[in-house]
């Protein structure tokens, strides 16, 4: 089962990488007023329970994949119906609101 962890800089945190990319896009003529650069992790897990995959994804994000001082994250369990909607529910950053995606 695959869990996808999306990590991005929190609002208000300066992102020099994103700004450099924005400048490149502007140079190419795109009307980009802001770029925020994050990271995407595709994690294959040897589990079959979506709730467990979700829990592991969040724990891994809290412990290592994201630094909570400057980054937020979303966790999406691939192949779970409604996962795309649930990504918004899962929201950013805190481990407390973890249950929604898996419950779908």
């Amino acid at each position: 089962m695959k869990v996808i962890v999306l990590v991005r800089p929190k609002d208000g945190i300066l992102d020099p990488q994103g700004e450099a990319i924005r400048q490149a896009l502007s140079t190419l003529g795109y009307p980009a007023s802001s770029v925020r650069a994050g990271r995407l992790f595709d994690v294959e897990l040897d589990v079959s329970d979506p709730a467990e995959a979700e829990r592991i994804g969040r724990e891994a994000a809290d412990r290592v994949l994201a630094n909570g001082l400057i980054e937020g994250y979303e966790v999406v369990v691939e192949g779970v119906a409604g996962a795309e909607d649930s990504a918004e529910v899962a929201g950013e950053d805190t481990a407390e609101d973890t249950e929604e995606v898996a419950a779908e």
Binding site: P16, Q17, N67, L69
Partner: protein, 232 residues
Amino acid sequence: MKPRIGVITFPGTCDDRDALRAIGLIGGEPVALWHADDSLDGCTGVIVPGGFSYGDYLRAGAIARFAPMMREVEAFAAAGGPVLGICNGFQVLCEAGLLPGVLRPNHHGRFVCRDVDLVVQRAGSPWLAGLEPGDVLRVPVKHHDGAWYAPPDEQERVEAAGQVALRYADNPNGALADIACVTNAAGNVCGLMPHPEHAVDPALGSIGGRPLLKGLLTLARVRSKKASAVTA
């Protein structure tokens, strides 16, 4: 007896040799430690040195913090042992939660490599014995991810607790409030982006790095006396 100071080498560390040499120069016994080992080998002080451990993958310092040797360092620090993190070592200690905050990419997006002046913030720190607020130490920096940051409430707490040891006179990286060097609340763990181990020999320029390293030696000496008192 010379205090034994361990210097940890991770894959991608590059300033371990300078740190070992500097410890020898100022009167300590340098001890090379390997990240995958799980013993501090009797050291009473530890340096987590500079470099690019694990290629700075994920975030600088984020992978090295899980090395077996870091578990030893965490236990050593929790027991009051003195630990100095330099550059990548500072990043590792922040990622490990042994020091407050995090090191972010330089605000200008460029690698910075030059001497900087560091201003002492308070008297009485064992890491900077004999120095007064306003005293200046010239030490080189060389980093890409050196901007210290903490959320506002965390920064306030760190400032109020006197954990800011040094500030940049001329901020080279966008660090919050010009903060260059912080300690933990207990004061036995210290980290900074500038490289004191590169500034110890007058033949090579400034010797502004000596006070911090001597501070580590002093703390390590106190600790070895305590240890021998316990075993005696």
